[in-house]
Amino acid sequence: MNKISIPIGPHHPLLKEPLSMIIDISGERVLGGALRLGYVHRGIEKMATQRTYVQDVHLIERICGICSHVHTTTFCLAVESLLGIEVPPRGQYIRALMCELERVHSHLLWLGILAKNVGLDTVFMHAWHDRELALDMMEGISGGRVSHAANQIGGVRFDLSTQQEEMISINLVKLKQQVSGVLDVIENEPALLARTQGVAPVSAEMIKDYCVVGPVARASGVDVDMRRDDPWPPYDQLDVNVIVLPEGDAWARTLIRVLETRESLRLCESIMQQMPDGPVAERAKRKVPEGEVITRSEAPRGEVFYYLRSDGSDKPARLKVRTPTLPVLSLLPVQLSAIHVADIPVVLAGIDLCVACADR
């Protein structure tokens, strides 16, 4: 059979965001692929140097819609460390609560995408129905479903009233119950097992060669999680279970996100139990003293890494954002050799694309 090249993207029903892949196939076997990025590049790092720190918080939120809160949190942590101020404990806990809720909503979103790629549209709809509950919780406390605008330099922008705390506790129980149904189906559905087991295995050496982080790395046996390895408060007071699976195929990548969703819901409950009282923010000066700082945190897709250098004015001198989706995308052409054409959607879903994060 001769070789033909099919283009996937930039416009394709499979992709949420534009990404171009040229895949060589022969019959039903995939021989390899080439990748082109940059369709969503907006020049965020350059724009950040032209705006003040206060305005940059909102700019950074729009790097990615799914993990927006983690990006702003890491940026605010960097600026706060340069300013030398510390967020009050209640603010830290609210930040962690939003981070974990965001992880839950991101994994449920990913679950729907995997089900849709495999042909199980019903599970897609049901998973996103449960995700609405998480988004409603976030909207109830912050004011926005996707663009939360929860952070400011020095803390968070809103406080939780007792009614809101009760609402969150009740809804967490409801969410846990609803989510357990969908997760049980995913763990035991034979059609899903048949389509993902043994597909595109990735070894731990390849993970380390390509510097991949996040659930993809943990599904191949590499034990790395910023919530435990480099925690910012309150994660050092919370007990985070890091889940690692050794197989490294698409099924392991599926199962690990299922288990992480359950773990995040448990963490949300601990956060609500341990939430202290007090103020939620501290006043921050507009001009940041000279210096440079590195901060990291664990986004739903892996480790997010920020480098910030300031020159004493109220605008940053250099901001560098390193998102977890870029190394995973460079692993994609390697994963695409020696699989079937019908496995391409499964592989693409397993790496949990977020091209907006990768392109910035």
């Binding site: 033909i4 090249s5 099919i6 283009p7 394709h12 029903p13 499979l14 039903e28 089900a115 849709k116 790629n117 495999v118 042909g119 199980l120 549209d121 019903t122 709809m125 049901h126 129905h129 559905e189 059609a191 899903l192 048949a194 389509r195 079937h340 054409v341 019908a342 496995d343 391409i344 959607p345």
Partner: protein
Amino acid sequence: MFRGIFYLLFFPGLAFQVVCGLAFEWMDRKLLARFQRRVGPPWYQPLADMIKLFSKEDLLPEGASGVVEMLLPLLSMSAVLTAGLYIPIAGFTSFSFEGDLIVIQFLMSVPTLAYYLAGMASVGIYSFLGGGRSILQYLSYEVPLLITISGPAVMAGSWSVAQISQSQVSMGPFIIFQPLGFILATVGLIGKLKRDPLDIPSASSEVVGGSLTEFSGAKLGFWYLVMNIQAVVGIFLLVNLYFGWSNVALPDVAIGVFILECLLMVAILSAVSAVFARLRIDQLAGLGWKILVPLSLVQLGFVILMGV
């Protein structure tokens, strides 16, 4: 002669089957939406879609043959409409002869061939892949379907659908004797209609639209009509082969019972579509030849032994 024209154009010919096809599409989409916690389209949606498609501009890529692309859906439509003429509707037969079951099976395979040719006639790569997959799928489900459908024919002692339906008055509905055959025939029907979980040729997440990626306007409208009418004819066929007795035994309520049986088939097809994931083409080939063919041979052997 006027009677013949009436049968051809109105009932059970063109107008009746088109209306049933649109009704089927609405019921299927509404049920699927309700299974997924959505509202679903209103009752006039399939009709509105047809009108919209027929009024759209017809784009023809360079290198594709417009004549071939127009002929293929028209030929498929005439094939399935003709197949529908031989099937009794609630006991009412218009054209029927000995051996029309074989003719119906042949005519219902014409759209599959046309789908493949449409993929080859188009220029893009997705159509080529979709067309190739449709032939692979055809080879996997057609053989067990043919063997299974022979079951009711052997039991009734005739190859005419009207006779098979009639003989169930005295013998009882064949689904009681051949439940396995009913399941296998439903699986074959799902494969023929290219529905989830066997919609491999037009899997939107891999090959954007399958063979029909580059069709637009009236040609695409005709293709959708073909798929709907094929579904309706398939449902009528299965209802007559396996539930036939009620059609003639109680003539007053025959129409109501027939409608109920058809609705049951629609519900089964929609539920299966909602619950199962799409198979891979090699998994389908394995399923077809390793499971479906042996089971259908077992069912046929059982029927023959019972007759002896």
